[in-house]
Structure formats: structure tokens, C-alpha cells
Symmetry: C2
Subunit: 173 residues, 2 copies
């Protein structure tokens, strides 16, 4: 039982966006060159993050993706569940009651007991991941409290855009 590899990518995408100036979207192509795997699959993962509300998409020319909220408000559980939905580890088909059906069993009691047991374990797992925010991860990874924005874009067009944004913020220079 493992999470899919997509989870690892998703975490990378989120942290990457967390270090990006939110005024300058990062194109999926730029994100892709930083990750392993295929471009189109990366897009698929990003899409799920958008649907989950963790990432905003900007379409059109100079479009791309930005974080939808502060990285202190994004935790690991949200990323995991954005890709896989609610985590329930027990593959429940009620089999155990089937087995004991004509024996001394109380109806459905076995299934319920098992369901509870795994459900409790799942809750603990989820709670643990919920306590870890992307900000904490960045601080650990970069070893400082302040996170410097990185510009992940490479294309010339993007550079122009960046200069323009800078000009808006800081005026002519």
C-alpha cells in the first residue's frame, strides 16, 4: 500500500509554486522541465490541484499556475486528498460476514468492527499529515524562516512580462 508517485510530484509542484511570485504564473512546461515524468501527466496532476482549490490557473498567453493561498494554509493531507480523494485503507466488501453468515455471527457485526478498526487508524494518519504545512517543509528544506521568491520561468516572453510587472510595482528604473 503506497500512495501513487503522482503525490510526490504534486508536493513538488506546490512547493515550487510556493516560492514563486504570485503575480507571475508558471507555465506547465516550466514546471515539467523541473520534474520527472511526462508533460501531459504533470498537467493532469496540476489540474487536480486546481479542482481541489490549492492552485489557481490563468489561461491564455502568459498564463500558467499560481498558488491559490498562502503556503502556510496548505498541508500535506490536502495535497494527498486532492489527488486520491479521502483515504480509506480498508478494502471493504463485507466478506467477513459472508464467511460467518451461517455460523454464530451477529449480522454485520464483524464488518462493522473491522471498518471501525481501520477507520481509526486512517484518522490518525490523516491528522498527522494535516499538521505539516508546505511552509514548514520549505523552511526545513531551505533552512531559513524567510522564503525568497524564485522565478522559475525561462522564456524571453516571460522575462518581458516580469520586467513589466516589476515596473508596475517599483516604477521606472
Amino acid at each position: 500500500m503506497k500512495l501513487t508517485k503522482g503525490i510526490e510530484q504534486a508536493i513538488c509542484i506546490i512547493t515550487l509554486l510556493a516560492t514563486q511570485d504570485p503575480d507571475i504564473p508558471v507555465a506547465s512546461l516550466e514546471i515539467h522541465t523541473r520534474l520527472k515524468g511526462s508533460l501531459t501527466y504533470t498537467k493532469k496532476i496540476i489540474r487536480k490541484l486546481v479542482v481541489a482549490g490549492l492552485v489557481d490557473s490563468v489561461s491564455g498567453n502568459n498564463g500558467g499556475f499560481t498558488l491559490a493561498r498562502n503556503c502556510a494554509d496548505i498541508n500535506l493531507l490536502q495535497i494527498v486528498e486532492a489527488l486520491e480523494g479521502t483515504i480509506e485503507t480498508y478494502p471493504d466488501t463485507g466478506l467477513i460476514d459472508e464467511v460467518f453468515k451461517d455460523k454464530q455471527a451477529i449480522a454485520n457485526q464483524g464488518t462493522i468492527a473491522l471498518r471501525n478498526a481501520f477507520s481509526k487508524a486512517d484518522v490518525l494518519w490523516r491528522e498527522a499529515l494535516k499538521t505539516i504545512t508546505v511552509q514548514q517543509l520549505l523552511e526545513e528544506a531551505l533552512g531559513k524562516k524567510e522564503i525568497l521568491p524564485i522565478n522559475w520561468n525561462h522564456s524571453e516572453r516571460r522575462e518581458l512580462l516580469i520586467r513589466k510587472v516589476m515596473k508596475n510595482i517599483y516604477g521606472n528604473d
Copy 2:
């Protein structure tokens, strides 16, 4: 992220054996007729339980399987890990350090942080399952403290064997 369906079967097999007189092994065929799925796959699951030391196998005519220890000493985690090995949910390839390699990152620190986070969650999950024994499950499912042994065998040969065992225990009758 789910456990495999085999887990559910494994739990059923263990509980089934837990209600069986340990002097009379249950043949894999008997177990199979109680479960869904294929006979050979059921055998494979049982084999894993044997290798893990939860179940004993008796080969030869009138062979089959018995619990290797008291059902109070078998917990859910042991069953899960018998089939899947140690549970580690994070699909760790160190990708995040790759992404930040040429940026401000401290070597491997991101990977370590992530590994720790998921590892803590996994430990909690495992601990939770460790507290649930098969005996507890049976008590809940059967609604009584005392678990009556059930004879799961059906063949005539088995019936003969059973009578023989009874004779050994209780003398001629």
C-alpha cells in the same frame, strides 16, 4: 491508496482458523469455498500467512492449516504486514531535492522532511492496528466472550478424522 483485497481475505482466513479446533487442520479447499476469489490465489495468501508465522501448515493427506498461536496474540497489523510487508505510504524517490537542487536548498533536507512527516503518520496508523487483536474481533462479531470451535470441514474423510481425534481425547464412547 487502499490495501489489496487480499487483506480482507487474509483477515477472514485467520478468523476462520481461530474458530477451528487446532487439532483438525482445515484444507485450503474448505477455506476457499467460504471466500470469494480463486482457489489458487487463496492458497497464495495462506502461504504468506504461513511464512509470516501466523498460520501453520500440515502437509499430506488430511493436511491443511491451523493457527500458529492463540488468536489473542494476533493483531491486525501482523496480518496486514504478512501480506504487504512494512507499510510505508510515501513513494519516496527524492524528487523534491532534484527540483530545488540548483536553488537555495540544503542538500537532501526536503526529502528528509517529507520522509519524516509521512513516516510519523505511518507509525500512528500501524500502532492503531496493532491494538486490535483477532480475539477482540471475534468477540465483537460473535457477541460473546467464549468462542465456540466450529468445524469447517465437510468431506467424509475429514469426518472420520474428527471422530478419531475425539476418541483420542474423550476415549471410546
